[in-house]
Symmetry: C2
Subunit: 435 residues, 2 copies
């Protein structure tokens, strides 16, 4: 019985994912030594579970022959992921050391971006011809190489040109009369993906229609692979991680165990952008240095208004980024979302403005200061939610990932406008009341 | 052929998910009218696709008989989700109107929290007894009610007391000699969930071991249900959304189309907490009003240092929250994570500190100001990453969700300590150099 239950429990009952966890805690030399002790199949399974950066460094320490053995032990889509991590020259060496069939399957997958349906799909699937009998189809199922049982829940149906024309459930195939033709019992309507579909489209389709797998067709409607929901789940997790990280100026790929030196390379540039953006806000403050010099109590409220409005903006941003990722926000929803956020900003602005106004009055004993701080807080709530809507939709309009550094942009916008409103009101009050 | 392909395409070729999208854009009365036009099966499918709040309001407008018809048309786990949204009295009325078997299945599921394995699982699954012959097992498969083909990829094996003892792939069942016993070909090692396992444990197991479904056992090891990967994918998406929202002080349940009035109730309280926390930071600034009055250029750098250090803290926080959610961070990793973040904070601190020092010197023409601002920026990077580590681990230590309002806590901590460092250094410089 060669299913995945038994396969996964080799290497003294440890699972590849668990072994990978262990390896990530070792130094590269030690990890490579452990890997070399395993069979090719075991090592290959562990390698694909490792985080990308770690796997790449282990591959760099390995000979092309060793890598070719690992690649051969993997399913083509996993093999392609592994080969994609190699430097171009090393990649050619490894491909040259592989049996022709494996090398060509891997090369075909490498032609698609790794996060497209073509890059995620498994090119091993079961298909039958529409004009075959069910008995022929069943025979096909029986003689196909042993694999995970879940793989055979659906069998896809193609025409003589290899184009996807339908789908048959294994059960329907089993329990109908064996002399009937496949096209008689198949469902001619089959949801499918195109090789060029991106991560988000895949997750959305699989989640929406609740299939355990979706067939993938090329530009000529030919069936070329299958994307399984297990792979879609990984993609969905990676996508959520990426959005969370992109928002705060990170690469989207950093993991907890990523080396600090690699993490700095991803984080520092965005902190530099953040510094530049904050300098813009600082120039606004600088223009009001006189005002602040004459009324130092203002300075106490400056970071306060910035903090709460920034967070209000990031709240709106978070809902929208997630809504875009999950497909809840479609073209034309911008106006509707803007109205909702404006309503929230106005109500929260009144509430928080009154609260801060009262606090300012009681704390510093100045009614004017209370009014200025409260009004600035209230207005800045509106500025916050507006930024939270405009930044992601604006980035998307510019064909940039709407999550990209978005929280940096939102907080900078609220800072700049918030400081202008607050210090502008204060300067006006100073002049008007001759304080 | 009664599989899900055909069923999903009723109601003029529209899919429930698409119809739900449409309904979410209608007013409640109109949406209820549309729902009442559909067959019970169609309406039920659409209802479970709707966002929770919207579905609840539609249910409030419907009669117990109408709801009972919808519930009966759903799989028990989806039915339980629907019934869970009803007020207690209405819930009793609906359950009373259901056939006994349906009512008891739904009630059983309602006993488990909705985000536990017991709440997510489907109680319709195929199982065979270990001592049966394969022919008997196959017969079981043939006579089971028609359902999605994917459901029958694995058949679970139980002993005479109903305890889970193994698993058999459908293919293994099909192509072995029919007079063999199930226990001869079953895999006795079967990964499973307990009814009490939470969302995160489920996602982690399914993703880790790449199964399309996992069996669920009760406290006595009896097989009681199956969690399918399609449901796990939804759970994983919801979990990621929740973490992103919790971090910035939201409920974790808000969607783009959530009504603004409902959204305010979730966001405003946390903005209030944010205001309170920011007031703490403001009292620090207040203590240095004299210093600032004598050296107003300081005020320009105050929000700048706060912004960049806060973001550095949220970067560290994001990696850790996601690492905790995906199970990459385990007990004992805290020290290791802290070392990594400290290294990042030190290097980024030196880089950004030098940059701001130079900028401060060139902009304001004061070497002392450059040194004070640069040193504060550098130190505050370390404060930022420390907060980013300590807040989530601290929350988890207190048995609170580590994401809960964590970015508010991190930015407040960096503000308080950052202002202390910056203004403290400035006050010292004022005294030391008699500026």
């Amino acid at each position: 019985m060669a299913n995945d239950f038994t396969r996964q429990r080799s290497a003294a009952e440890a699972l590849p994912a668990d072994l990978a966890d262990g390896l990530e805690r070792l130094r590269p030399e030690a990890a490579h030594a452990v890997l070399s002790q395993m069979t090719a199949a075991e090592a290959a399974q562990v390698l694909i579970e490792l985080e990308v950066e770690r796997a790449t460094r282990l591959l760099e320490r390995s000979s092309p022959d060793q890598i070719a053995a690992w690649v051969e032990a993997l399913a083509p889509n996993a093999a392609a992921d592994l080969v994609a991590r190699l430097a171009p020259e090393r990649r050619r060496e490894v491909l040259a050391g592989l049996p022709l069939a494996v090398a060509s399957a891997v090369s075909a997958l490498l032609r698609h971006p790794p996060d497209s349906a073509g890059g995620i799909m498994d090119d091993r699937f079961l298909s039958v011809r529409a004009e075959q009998t069910l008995a022929e189809g069943l025979d096909r199922l029986r003689t196909s190489p042993p694999r995970k049982s879940a793989d055979v829940a659906y069998i896809y149906v193609t025409d003589e040109a290899g184009r996807l024309v339908g789908v048959v459930g294994v059960r329907d195939l089993l329990f109908a009369a064996p002399d009937r033709r496949v096209h008689e019992i198949m469902d001619p309507q089959v949801h499918h993906l195109r090789v060029t579909d991106d991560q988000e489209a895949i997750t959305r389709q699989i989640e929406r229609y609740r299939y355990s797998a979706l067939p993938v067709v090329d530009a000529r409607q030919r069936l070329v692979g299958v994307v399984r929901i297990t792979d879609a789940l990984r993609v969905a997790e990676a996508e959520a991680t990426e959005d969370m990280q992109l928002m705060v100026g990170m690469s989207g790929e950093e993991q907890v165990h990523t080396r600090w030196s690699a993490a700095i390379g991803k984080r520092l540039p965005w902190l530099g952008v953040n510094l530049g953006a904050a300098l813009l806000a600082a120039t606004v403050v600088s223009r009001f240095e006189d005002t602040i010099g004459r009324w130092t109590a203002l300075v106490v409220f400056l970071p306060l208004i910035s903090a709460v409005a920034g967070n209000a903006g990031v709240q709106a941003l978070t809902v929208i980024i997630r809504g875009l990722a999950l497909g809840d926000v479609v073209r034309g929803d911008a106006a509707r979302v803007l109205r909702k956020e404006l309503a929230i900003g106005l109500v929260n602005g009144v509430g928080l403005g009154l609260a801060l106004g009262l606090i300012g009055y009681l704390w510093k004993g100045s009614l004017v200061l209370g009014i200025v701080a409260g009004a600035a807080m209230g207005l800045n709530q509106v500025v916050g939610v507006l930024s939270g809507v405009l930044v992601p939709f604006g980035l998307r309009y510019c064909k940039i990932d709407p999550a990209m550094a978005s929280s940096i942009f939102v907080t900078t916008l609220t800072d700049i406008l918030g400081f202008l409103v607050f210090l502008g009101l204060a300067a006006f009050a100073l002049r008007a009341f001759g304080l």
